[in-house]
Symmetry: C5
Subunit: 367 residues, 5 copies
């Protein structure tokens, strides 16, 4: 149980990085996430494209990407790994990122938000992915710098939800290469939001399984699992709410970085976030209903137990009293010596009393 | 029970189409509804009219409708069946619908919304219909393209709630043919909203039946049925809320597609949606009250059971103690041999004790 | 009980008229209220006045009122009875009322609202009246057409809450005849709102009675009556909320139909509606507290019952065990034949055990 | 108990005045408060001052104050007692108060509000005062007319919370006489708001006492007293909420009646009202927590009782069964005649069974 | 227990200062905090700096700081101790602080707020610090006057959360000395907000410990501690909410006192306050879930106890009845004398009955 708990309270744990940082000057680039057991090298991936040309490269060091800052083609620089604080500072310096942006990139406790700075936008959101092997929801912070000619994205770990976007860029399918950096930014956010649906789908499956258990075999364990699910839904709602604002702000910005056609697509993502909110609310309502049913089933079972007890006591107490009477040693009990009193008389009385009680219970619907 | 549950959680199931689509490029025309066991042909119905002329046709293929795009008369193209994704693309291409609109038409998870595009409006809402045979609420997604001279509507299945609108068009009764496409759009939405009242009426009947059961024979089964009803009301509220916004947006749009007289009628539909919201809230309040009554009736019955148990135990335990005393084998018990102790003395004591207890219980209102 | 229920759910019943109407063209003038057992004739009452002149007439048919449309004096046409749909159409035609207004007048399910049309305002609200004989709240829909020189009011039944307004008009007391139609409209709305206070007063009396019962003799019946009252309060809140908007809209309208002095009076009515809202909230809080007290009193009584049971069992079980011991037939029980064991020894043991138990219970505050 | 109840529901009683007034023409000056057992004379107090001069007078009749209407010095006319409706009309006539203002002054059911009229502002609020003798909160309606050169205040009874304001005026201390009528109005409102803190302080003391009782000796009586306190807090919140709006409206008015320096002070009062709201919310949270603790302590005690019962029954039922066995009269029971079976064998079995049961209970933490 | 309670209700106690002050003229400089057992001397610390120079001094009296008012370098005057009301008046007079500001500085009940005056801003907030020795959260009021060239801060006690800011000023690290007074004000607020995270972290650790206890050994004591934690969270939320408004107001002010670069940093603090709100909400949700689990675990344990009781009674009552039958003294009981009835027949019946009961219980999952 304690392992379970640790997982569900983990979002509160994250605050510890915050404690470490308390009192540091603002703009301090301090990684606050978990340190991996084995240090992971930071990976750099670069895609440079316009409608005509396409280039994809695995970089050895980040400096190789620096020349693309000024190139007029769209460039996507993806950085997997944010533990190396000096690297982030180097990127920040070259691309002229505000110290607070650099701080936020490596502080893995960010709420989703969009901030506009001179010449670029900074977005940060949380990407969720369901791991079908460990049956856990994996979460990582995703930061995105959107400028006129380049996008820089920062992820905590290799592996992401963009596996269906890259081939589209390579194959020049659809609008992907025709529209610029803002459309790419939209595509990335859209992919992240789409994966929220996958998580919710997993949750709703779990909920159905729990509901089956609840109706067939309600136990305290089911209760704790329902509460765990409720917490995860609450957590997810806390993630999606600011994400909605992010998308809305991006859609309504006056910045020239976001073109008109992309805004229409952003409206679509916005609708998706509202749809997710709605689904989370529905699931939470279902969970609340399940808790109510659980509690009333407890009362019902108590009632059933009490009825059995009452029935048994009500039948056997009078009977035992009768046996007690004829177990007394009074010298002058004439019934004792009359021939038919036992077994005929005695058992007739006993059966009459017992049957009368049973009929009364049946009438009151206790049996 | 599990069949029941499946139905009530079905709105969560719908997300699975979403899972299939996760990661696809935006504007992908992918049908996400249920595949019918037997493939259904898509049906096309066309009505072309103005105040003077009226033409109604069953089309063999959608291309037959394409010429009406430019005709100045009002044209209503109704398409029953949206599984054929290529067909929707064909329509989308000819009538210049935005890729996102095409995607939404076949994605049966839409919240009600109204979106304005150049030259047309796109509306999507959920039509509910009560099936008096299966006693189930049937739901389908209804999409509507409103342009100057034509309306295109998309439905999941044949059969709809517009059976009273078509004769009005044919017979040229009332305002139906005098006012243009926007009035037709209004009429369709109005018919859908009116059917929400029918559903609510069915729900309130069910609720009355459940309340009767609850007062006469409260059982755990009634509880689960009340919770089911509560879920369906919640679901319905989730449908009606964005519908209200849709109607409001349509009423307040600056678009010339909606004429002044039609706006007055839209205000009326808007009032209806608020009335529905109110009624749903009333029903939910009633449901909450019923749940409270159920829970307190559980406690009451427990109290009743406990009282019976306590009364029986309190009367017979002392009596059994007395019989126990005179069942003892002490050699020197003088009472045993006094002639009147049994039956007169003994039974007098027994009856006195029992009656005293009964009087006490009666005084304390336990009996 | 079922009669009771029928009354409290009656507001949901009203939807049935709505079901009948579903699918009809907008503007259909269809009466949706209850049909009286005996058909009631429609009554027409006319008052025509300015500061100088005053005329009051009972009309035989509505056509007698038509000439007053153009007269510059203020005219109040009151129509009691809205079952006759053709009559309403006739009035609607002569006074040029929008079809939707005609529809709303006879559809007795309206939420309170105010709608402005060219040349007149349409208001609809619900008038409540307490019937001191049947002890029921009677409710009827009140529609009001406010134009420059006339007011037309529609009521479901004869008998209304305006009995103190008519003498003021007749007697030319106060501002009643000096100020025009808008002041009359205000007076009528004010009278209706004032009667809400009367209803609330009746409710608070009932609540006090219920609270007395709850504290002296809590029963399941009291619970259902509290819930009934809660429902009626909820219903009333649903009525008053849109009424507040109506008054506010009327006060803030740009229409010249409402003069400046009247607006000050409307602000006063607005305050009254807020006061009513507040009182309803207070009563609902009281009701919630009563329900909590009821539930905890159930637990308390259960505790009391359980304690009696536990006390009885704890005292008599050990005692019965002792009698059982000396009822055994072992041949070698030396206590049996010692002279003082019975009654002195035995009863000493019994009393010691019983008293010890009682002292323990007293110490633990169980007795 | 019924006396208690009467007090806590008293705010609902107040509606009865409203019932009496229902249907009267607007602007009717009708006193709706309680009629004192002994008629109280109305008292008039007048203070006239500027920075240089100060005059204080007890008036015999209100006409003596009429001349001060035009005097350029600041004049405070305080009227204690509003039962005399004709007097209020006289004042209203002389100072040109709107009929609705006159009506509100004597209608003691007003929500706090501020209304601007030509040349004056009307404010009404509720003054609370803790009576340390009766331990009750006394409440009276306080009306205030703020004009350029005079303030008229109306109170229900002699005795108020302004005892520290008058000496400041007399002694010309601080800003009191330098700043004009608006500062005086502010001072009066500030004094009333400050006394809310006193009431809340009394409430929090009571709450502490109740919490002590709840932890040491939870009883149903404590519950009802907690609910009473909750009601009083709710009532107080209902009073303070519109008061906040009053202060805010006064601070933001465009009227020249309120000078700039006074506005700064009003911001301070506004902060106080928010602070009071916060404190009320805190107290309500504490109350809710106490109710939860009470309910779970009920369950806990029930558990304790049940455990005792179960322990006693589980120990003595098997023991009684054993004694029953050896009380049987079978002829052929060899154990009976073996010498050591009683007392050694029998009592060994009895003690073994009893101790085993006790050890099991101890292990399961039931004892 | 009573010591505990005193602490958690302490925020309500604070109102007592308010009671003392009720009725005093506005602007009265009255210290409302606790009087320390031993009077503490007030400490004055001064830092004067710009990018080039830095001076730090411990002052003997406040007059030594007065000359810095006009100096163009940034000056930070920190005052530890606000019990000395005359001192505050002296400072207020020299630096021309509004009387209401002086009043608020020494009134330790302030909600966080920011107020703009001519030439300076006044901010007040609550600084929390976790004392790792007493395991208590220490709270003090922090007031800040921000002017062009100086900052004056007032704290209740020596010792604060700024230990990491001073070295940065001394060492001229980062932006601290380059940016002016507004950046220093931001730094101080940021440090206070950062410490809220520390407190929350401590709370979440406590919560985990409580959750462990709840799952392993639920007791009434855990319940009261959960409620205490809930209260502290509620209190903290009440603190952070106005703090959020303070930061927002400071960020959006039109005042030239706050420079553009500092505003970006304030946006960052604003995000932190929202993050804290979110975390508090999460913790409150966790607490609510824990309370629900606690209550249902009570019901579960009750069920377990009742089942044991029912099982014991159901098995032994019939058995005792049988022994009762054969303990009767009827003369004519043929079973008595048949040789095999005891022990074979009797014990076979007893075991059959007992085993049948056990099998039934096992089937119904009671055992």
């Amino acid at each position: 149980m304690s392992k379970k708990k640790r997982r569900t309270l983990s979002h509160l744990r994250l605050l510890r990085g915050q404690r470490k940082k308390a009192g540091m000057p603002p703009g301090s680039v301090v990684y606050t996430g978990e340190q991996p057991a084995v240090p992971q090298p930071t990976l750099f991936m670069l895609m440079d494209y316009d409608e005509a040309v396409f280039e994809e490269r695995m970089l050895i060091n980040i400096e190789q990407a620096f020349d693309f800052k000024m190139k007029s083609t769209a460039t996507w620089i993806n950085i997997d790994g944010i533990q190396d604080e000096s690297l982030i500072s180097k990127v920040g310096k070259h691309f002229e990122l505000h110290p607070l942006v650099q701080e936020d990139i490596v502080d893995t406790n960010q709420r989703a938000k969009m901030e506009e700075y001179d010449g670029y936008m900074y977005m940060v959101l949380r990407a969720l992915q369901y791991n079908y092997e460990t049956h856990e929801v994996e979460s990582e912070q995703f930061s995105l710098i959107l400028a006129k000619n380049y996008i820089i994205t920062f992820q905590e770990r290799p592996g992401d939800v963009f596996d269906q976007i890259r081939p589209r860029l390579r194959g020049n399918k659809g609008r992907a290469r025709r529209l610029g950096c803002d459309y790419l930014a939209y595509s990335l956010i859209d992919a992240i939001v789409d994966h929220y649906f996958v998580i919710l789908d997993v949750f709703s499956e779990r909920l159905e399984a729990l509901e089956d258990q609840l109706l067939n075999n309600p136990s305290h364990q089911v209760l704790t699992r329902i509460h765990e699910l409720k917490r995860e839904l609450t957590l997810m709602r806390k993630n999606i709410w600011p994400l909605r604002e992010l998308v809305n702000a991006m859609q309504r910005t006056h910045s020239p970085l976001v073109s008109e056609p992309t805004r229409l697509y952003l409206r679509d993502v916005y609708d998706h976030t509202i749809h997710i909110m709605d689904t989370i609310e529905s699931l939470r309502d279902v969970v609340s209903g399940m808790l109510e049913i659980y509690l009333s089933s407890l009362s019902n079972r108590m009632n059933a137990v009490m009825k059995v007890l009452a029935v048994i006591a009500t039948i056997f107490m009078p009977l035992s009293f009768i046996t007690g009477v004829y177990g007394m040693n009074f010298h002058n009990m004439p019934e004792m010596s009359v021939g038919w009193t036992y077994p005929w008389g005695f058992w007739a009385v006993i059966l009459t009393v017992a049957l009368t009680m049973l009929i009364i219970f049946r009438k009151n619907k206790w049996l």
